[in-house]
Amino acid sequence: MLAIQTHGLTRHYPGGHGVDELELAVPAGAVYGFLGPNGAGKTTTIRLLLGLLRADRGSIRLHDLPLDRGHRGALARVGALVESPSLYPHLSGRQNLEVTRRLLAAPPSRIDEVLDITGMAGAAARKVRDYSLGMRQRLAIALALLNQPRLLVLDEPGNGLDPAGILDMRRLLRTLATDHGITVFVSSHQLGEIEQVASHVGVLHAGRLRFQGTMAELRARSRPRLHLRCDDPMRARLLLAAAGEQVDHAGDDGLAVALQSRPESELNRLLVEAGLAVSHLVREQASLESLFFDVTGHAGVAA
């Protein structure tokens, strides 16, 4: 079952920005990290998914229900936070929740439930104008939870938060997915953030989806590398190249070897048996950041 499914979703703006032929497939229950640099089209995609923008072409299905201007029922179990929190500063946190509760006709008891989930119960009586940005973000997520969503769409929820706030937000997203079974679609340009919370990832670049899959699938796209240092790097390089390995310089007399079929122990033996003194040997998994640049840097690698 897919929580979000789009086919050929396209929306262009004058000047060439927008999104092109998006084929999103977000599995129910996943934490889907929607990655992309600023201007990639993440917010446009989210606004399309919430019916705030009309698509030039293509279709959207949320939990298998179609979404367009004539069919908004698909949004019944969707909660959203688009960019900055939309709150009424002159009202208290609880009154802000009450405004949306009335619109949704949700039961009054739901307000206390979402305040507990987001850890905002203690501040509910205070005016929102006195809230910190982190508290506002939490209250905005509480608003998004009022209709007991099966899908939560969050656009850059960590924006502007301090490190403690980011940690809190990360914990909250994990709780929502694991304890409440909510599918979380979270956009970000902060790669580290997504790496910490997402089970699935989509990479958007210049309006096109360059990759979509699990985190493991993304990692599998890049082989680990071996970093080594020895007393004669030039000779080591020739030896390894002669053995069929792909070797690059890695600065400070170091070498980087893209691991293929030979394990690092065998490469080490090869060098030692040739009389080289190996002083440093580290296997390095590709970071999400390097994968991200790898994916967005080559248009042909879309999954």
């Binding site: 606004r47 919430l50 019916g51 705030l52 923008l53 009309r54 201007r69 908004r72 029922g73 949004l75 019944a76 969707v78 959203a80 688009v82 960019e83 900055s84 929190p85 939309s86 709150l87 009424y88 500063p89 002159h90 009202l91 009154q95 009450e98 405004v99 949306t100 009335r102 619109l103 949704l104 006709a105 608003l143 209709n147």
Partner: protein
């Protein structure tokens, strides 16, 4: 209808403690107080004495005219801008319009809230007129007010002016909700008010201009009463329906 009632209920909560709500008392009180002050300090030597019930009516009509000519269009402008500002200021539209509610319900609720605030302010004015009259009688007995206030006269005149103002309310509400800028909402309303002050005095055009339709109802012998009432109410309904339709189709960028 259910969605509209829910949206109206939400609007009522949003208005708590806002300047928009306070203005429903402040604006009519200012008009009533200003006119009373003028009558207290007026030179009564040149003014003919009039029967108490005539004095009541003259006083009530003068307050209503001052309200209708100047304060009502400015009040509608400010209220529309303040109400719309609640949603524009913190980009509430992207939250509201992503909810599983008919988009037009949000617009209609906001439009009804604006109309309700205008009605409330005029009701407050209708209550302040007798209060001001009694105070005027105490401070300046030579004005000649006496006996019970002509409530039927006050309410009927205020009601007719309210009906004739509905097209202006609908237009000003649409401008304020359509464009995010507070400046556009206020500048358009102020300009339209000044133009209305001039056009409203025209025999030929006064009853055609939405911002001076209410003013036409204050004439001693109004010639276009039926027209401005039908145009005000009917035009207000048409503009509101078209604006709600446009709101339902609009992209939230």
């Amino acid at each position: 209808m259910n969605a509209l009632l829910r949206a109206l209920s939400a609007e009522a909560l949003k208005l708590r403690g806002t300047l928009a709500l306070w203005m429903c008392v402040i604006a009519p009180a200012t008009v009533a107080a200003l006119y009373m002050l003028q009558m207290v300090v007026m030179d009564y030597d040149k003014r003919p004495t009039m029967p108490p019930d005539e004095a009541w009516k003259m006083y009530a009509q003068a307050v209503l005219a001052l309200w209708t000519i100047l304060m009502l269009p400015l009040f509608v402008t400010l209220e529309a801008a303040l109400l719309a500002g609640l949603e524009h200021a913190n980009q509430q539209w992207k939250h509201l319009l992503a909810l599983p509610l008919k988009r037009s319900a949000h617009y209609l609720a906001k439009s009804l809230a604006l109309t309700g605030l205008v009605a409330l302010s005029m009701l407050v004015l209708c209550l302040l007129i007798p209060a001001g009259g009694w105070l005027l009688d105490v401070l300046q007995p030579r004005f000649g007010i006496g006996g019970p206030p002509p409530m039927r006269f006050i309410l009927s005149h205020a009601g007719i002016a309210f009906g004739a103002a509905l097209l202006m309310v609908a237009l000003q509400g649409w401008i304020a909700l359509r464009w995010r800028s507070f400046t556009i909402a206020v500048a358009s309303g102020m300009t339209a008010t000044v133009v209305g002050y001039l056009v409203g005095q025209s025999e030929r055009f006064g009853h055609w201009y939405p911002w001076s339709m209410a003013l036409q109802t204050m004439a001693t012998e109004p010639k276009h009463l039926d027209f401005v009432l039908v145009a005000g109410i009917g035009g207000g309904l048409v503009v509101t329906a078209l604006a709600a339709w446009e709101c339902a189709r609009r992209d939230v960028a």
